[in-house]
Each structure stands twice: as structure tokens, then as C-alpha cells.
Symmetry: C2
Subunit: 369 residues, 2 copies
């Protein structure tokens, strides 16, 4: 087995739990937030800075790396870990969500997805087999099955068809997989239709992947609907396997997801917000570029122990952002990752100390979104 | 005295020398290369990365910081060192060169320079007194006199007039200065006219600044002409004071400048090249974005001990540059600063070991520009 997962502590009042995910590149404590390194780099940071910010595992994007620099080149480089100088665990998505995001530029058939590159318009075909070939060349610790993600809103029949295809593709991914040192996760689809979600959870769970992901959420639907889908999906996924909620990364979603039994999260929010001059804090977002911070010589977040908050003021970071300086993005990215990782640590501690429900209630009493 | 300068070793065959420049924020070994942090940040690096790359002293730009975020804000922040979290020495220019570079947007009178901001077109006046006021608010260890830099080529009479005004302005700067913990350097002008350079060197040297700079070179003139100007200027500047050649930073100019008695250099070349995807190496420039490096899994410069060369390949950095990733600029900036600082260390060692002339000859035998 490429990975193993051990539950350490269960919450009394919710489905929340803490655990340890062992991978070929080390252990990850769950629940965990995975920063995104789309093109083999967490945007604006060196790997050392990513580590110092506390990240234990990264996500990289198969679609982007397939397009540039190409998976064969990454294979020649010795795999993604060596290529990008990251010796901790990596998870790669399958490219399914990215080609789905290309909209009019792609065409879905039973075989796979025909799409035009966002870089040069060249035509490519991603299939379950091709996705696995690419993910094996990249060499992440955890790889994802190639799925078809439905938009929101979408007609029942279309969502059902995409879900069924996702199940067939999941089996093809399983069949195509050759590397023993990588763990393949299945992905539950089904949009926001309760019966489809249930069906998908049962089918994917029955295929006995070492981990199960919930895809197709946080694609535009209201948050209560996402939580409803988690409520009906998660209990159908094997308890002793890690559960990964894809593409979700705001603090409220961390709390809501963990309470519903999710162990893993990833999101570009932390890094994208940073490049837009916005900091994530415990109480909501802080738009550093706003004029009110021009002469604010306090740190981004009082009490935060990240490199940024230990050494720089809101006034300085605002200056950098206004001046278009790269360091502004770097400092905010460090903070946003650090504070997200720290927040997840607090969630873990709350579960360990049997007070997660109180933590959750207190969090939502103060959260300003 | 805000600074002191001690010559440690003189070259047998050239005017080169090693020395120690003591400032309120620590010592600097000369000859020294000063990376540029125009807007209170060395572009694409954290201060920790700048230190790790070996920089002992930074240059920051008065014009830019006056325009944004404003010198009063920096003063309120506790000065530039605290604002940008850099506890080693800083040198600020006077803004003279920058307003000169604005071209049609500025008008020079005896009083000073009236100019339009590059940010919003608003009108401002920089005078010797105003430049000193700003530089005192910024609080660098070494501050520069406000000068008028002539373009190249330029008519004799215009260059002479600018030089004479520079001398009058130098005295006004001296008179305006109030802080005891900052050292004010004078600037020699005179374009590429030998008699003007000589006159300017004599006048500026006679004003007894704690250090003397040579301005108005590397503004388009051929390199042999720059060296010729150094040959006639430097010997007229007090031997026991640091000599600073402004805006010059290529390796060949380091060697040529040191051989002619220069102690300090600054340049945006290292950081700007990096952002354009180009690495500086001992033997010339390496355009990492070129296709020939796509599958080159060797470091930027074999034997280099910088963070970039210890951990990343040309292929990876090329990927980052092609993909427009910030980390590409960061890694190349680290290398370019590190290799420049290391090169200057080698120059120092060559002088200390009485073999600088051989070092110089060997360098030019291999240098490809």
C-alpha cells in the first residue's frame, strides 16, 4: 500500500476526526489543508517558504503540467518532487476539473475529453488512461481518478450521465494504474441531487480506493447546499479511509467540512487572494490595499507567528501591493498559508480535546466571511 | 562621524584596494556591490533572502519613495530600515538621476528640478534641501547629494553648466543636512569631458564629504570612455575615503572599476535581468528561457552555492519563466545577487593575496559579456 490512514481521535458531537496519513514522502496529520502548486510551484513562494509556512502536503495540477512543461520532461527530471524540490507529500488532481473548466473548448465522449490547450489552442485528448499515465510520470504520492465534473446548476439527466461516466472512468483509472507507490483516490460526483450523490458515494466506495474524494462541489452552489451534500455523502464513504473535499478552502468551509467528516481540503483561495492584496484572518478577509491601512503599523493579524506578521506591517505590505511589488504577493501568500495551516491545527486540537463543537460555535459567532 | 573607512590592503599593480566601511548599521567590506531596493524592497526577494544571497548593504531610491509611499510615512514607520525590515546598512540616492531620467517631464532651474510624477502626473519640486529632507526622513546610513546628471552625448557647455550647478547644489546639501548619524557623499559630474571631470573631482573632493561618488557614467557612453573618465577622476579623490561608482554593476565593470580605485557599486542589472529570465554567470549571461535549456537538469552555474543552484535546475527555472511564475524571478534574483556578491569577494581575495592583476587578466580572457 502506498499510503495508510489511521484515525486518532473522533469528535463526540460531529463526524469530525483527527488522523495520520502516511505516504512515501512522510506523514500528514489530518484534517489537513493542502496549498495548491498548480504549475509545480506554490505561486510566489520558494519551497522553503512553503515549508516554513507549515504546509505538509501540496496539490499540483495534472492538466497544467501536461500542457507545460509536459509530463515526460517531469519524468526525466526525476518526478515532480525532485523537479520542484519538494520532499514532502504531493497530490495531483487528474485534470478532469481543469478540462471541465475550459467550457466551450472541450468535448466529452465516453472515451475521454477532447480539448484545446489554453496556451496555444493545440488539440489534446485526456482519457482515464492518459490521466493515469501523466500522473504516474509526475509521481505524486496520491493521484486522483479522471472524472467528469458537472457545472451548477445543471439538469438532472446531464448530472446523472456525467456521474455514471465518472464511475466507469474510475474503474478504467484503476485498471490503468501500474505504480505501487502511488495511492489512487476515487471521486464522488452527482451534483446537488441527493439521490445521485448517494448513489455515487456507494459506487465509488464499493470500488475500494485507498481514499475517497468529493468532487463537483464549491462550483457555484450556495454553501448550505454544499453542506447538505456532505451530510448525505460522507456517511456512505468508508470511515477508515481519508475523505477529501476538492477545491474547498475558506475557514468556514474547513469547519463545516471537518464537522461532516472531511479530512483533506485544497484551494487556490489562499494564494490567489494574496496576489490580489487580500489577507485571510481568523475573523474574515483583510483587504490590505485599502487606504485605511496606509499608516497602520500593526501586523496583518495580531498574534500570528508567520514570517510576515513577525516582521512587517500592514502599511509596508500595502505599500508593496500598491507599488506592484512581488514581495507583497509573497508576504501575503506566506501569511495566508500559515494562518490556514494554523487554523487546521486548532481544529485538530479542538477535536483532540473534545471541544470541537464549542470551537465551531465560537468560530461562527465571530466569522465575518 | 556617521561612517568610517579603513583601507586594509592596496593592490601592487592597480589602484584597487580592500577596505572596511563602518556604518551605524554595521560593517561593509569593500569593494562592495549594493543590490538595489528601489521601492523599499529588492524586487522579488524577502529581506531574509537578500541576506542569504550575501548582500551587505542595499541602495534605495529617494525619488520613488518620495512619490510612494511618501517620506513622511516612512519616517512615521521608524525609518526605512524598520519599514522594510532590513537591519544592515542602506544608501539612498538623492533622486537626481531619477528626475533626470524623466526627460521631458522635468525642468531644471537653479532652485531645483520641477517634475511631473510618473505615477499620476502631479507636479513636484526637488531641490537640494528637499532631497536632504527626504533622505533624512528615510534615514539611510549613507545619503547622496542632489546632483544634475548630464545625458550622453551632450554639448560641452551644457555639461559644464550642469556640473557647476551640481557643485553649488552639493554645498546646499551640506548646509541643509542636520542628522549626525548619516554620511553625505558628494557626486562628481562632468560627462565625458576630461577637463570637466578633473575640475569636478577637485571641487567635490575639496568639499570634504566622508565619501565621494562618480555619477553620470554608464548612461550610454562606450565602456572604454567610462574607464578613461575613471582613470582621470579617481586619482583626484581622497585616497582615504570610499569611492562609489553609481549605477554600474556588470562583472567587467566591477573588475575595471576596482582596478581604477572604486570601492562601491550599485546596479539594477542583477534584479532586472532576473525578471527577464536571464542569469548572470562568471562567463557571461545565460538566457534561461532559451529552448536549449528545456531538458538541462544542471544548475544555473556549476559550483555556485546559492539557494537556487543548490536546489533547482535550468529546466525547472526555464519552466517557471515560461509559465510566468513569480518563483522564476525570485530564484534568478537570488542567483544574480549571490554570484555578484561572490564575485566581489573573489576580487577582494585577489587583492589581499597580491594577485589582482592576474585575476583581472584571466577574467577578461574568459568573459563573453
Amino acid at each position: 500500500m502506498a499510503i495508510s490512514f489511521t484515525i486518532e481521535k473522533k469528535c463526540r458531537d460531529t463526524l469530525g476526526r483527527t488522523g495520520v496519513l502516511k505516504t512515501p514522502h512522510g506523514e500528514v496529520k489530518t484534517p489537513v489543508f493542502m496549498p495548491v502548486g498548480t504549475q509545480a510551484t506554490v505561486k510566489a513562494l520558494t519551497p522553503d517558504q512553503v515549508k516554513e509556512a507549515g504546509a505538509e502536503i501540496l496539490l499540483a495540477n495534472t492538466y497544467h503540467l501536461y500542457m507545460r512543461p509536459g509530463h515526460e520532461l517531469v519524468r526525466e527530471a526525476g518526478g515532480l518532487h525532485k523537479f520542484m524540490n519538494w520532499d514532502r507529500p504531493i497530490l495531483t488532481d487528474s485534470g478532469g476539473f481543469q478540462v471541465f473548466s475550459l467550457g466551450a473548448l472541450r468535448k466529452v465522449t465516453e472515451e475521454g475529453v477532447l480539448f484545446a490547450s489554453h496556451l496555444d489552442g493545440s488539440r489534446h485528448m485526456l482519457t482515464p488512461e492518459k490521466a493515469i499515465e501523466i500522473e504516474e510520470a509526475l509521481g505524486a504520492d496520491i493521484i486522483m481518478a479522471f472524472d467528469e465534473c458537472s457545472p451548477w446548476p445543471a439538469e438532472y439527466d446531464a448530472v446523472a450521465a456525467a456521474m455514471e461516466r465518472t464511475h466507469r472512468w474510475a474503474q478504467r483509472c484503476k485498471d490503468a494504474k501500474t505504480r505501487e507507490d502511488q495511492a489512487l483516490f476515487g471521486i464522488v460526483q452527482g451534483g446537488t441531487y441527493a439521490d445521485l450523490r448517494k448513489e455515487s458515494a456507494k459506487v465509488i466506495d464499493s470500488m475500494d480506493f485507498p481514499g475517497n474524494a468529493i468532487g463537483g462541489l464549491s462550483v457555484g452552489e450556495p454553501k448550505p447546499l454544499m453542506n447538505e451534500m456532505l451530510d448525505i455523502t460522507v456517511p456512505l464513504l468508508s470511515e477508515n479511509k481519508p475523505r477529501y473535499l476538492m477545491g474547498v478552502g475558506s475557514f468556514d468551509c474547513f469547519v463545516d467540512g471537518v464537522a461532516r467528516g472531511v479530512d483533506m481540503f485544497d484551494c487556490v483561495l489562499q494564494t490567489r487572494m494574496a496576489r490580489n492584496g487580500t489577507a485571510l484572518t481568523r475573523n474574515g478577509r483583510l483587504v490590505v490595499r485599502n487606504a485605511q491601512y496606509a499608516r497602520d503599523f500593526s501586523p496583518i493579524e495580531e498574534g500570528c507567528t508567520c514570517y510576515t506578521c513577525r516582521h512587517f506591517t500592514r502599511a509596508y505590505i500595502r505599500h508593496l501591493v500598491k507599488a506592484g511589488e512581488i514581495l507583497g504577493a509573497t508576504l501575503l501568500t506566506i501569511h495566508n498559508i500559515h494562518t490556514s495551516v494554523q487554523f487546521m491545527k486548532e481544529i485538530r486540537r479542538a477535536i483532540e480535546e473534545d471541544r470541537f463543537l464549542a470551537f465551531k460555535n465560537e468560530f461562527f459567532a465571530n466569522y465575518q466571511g
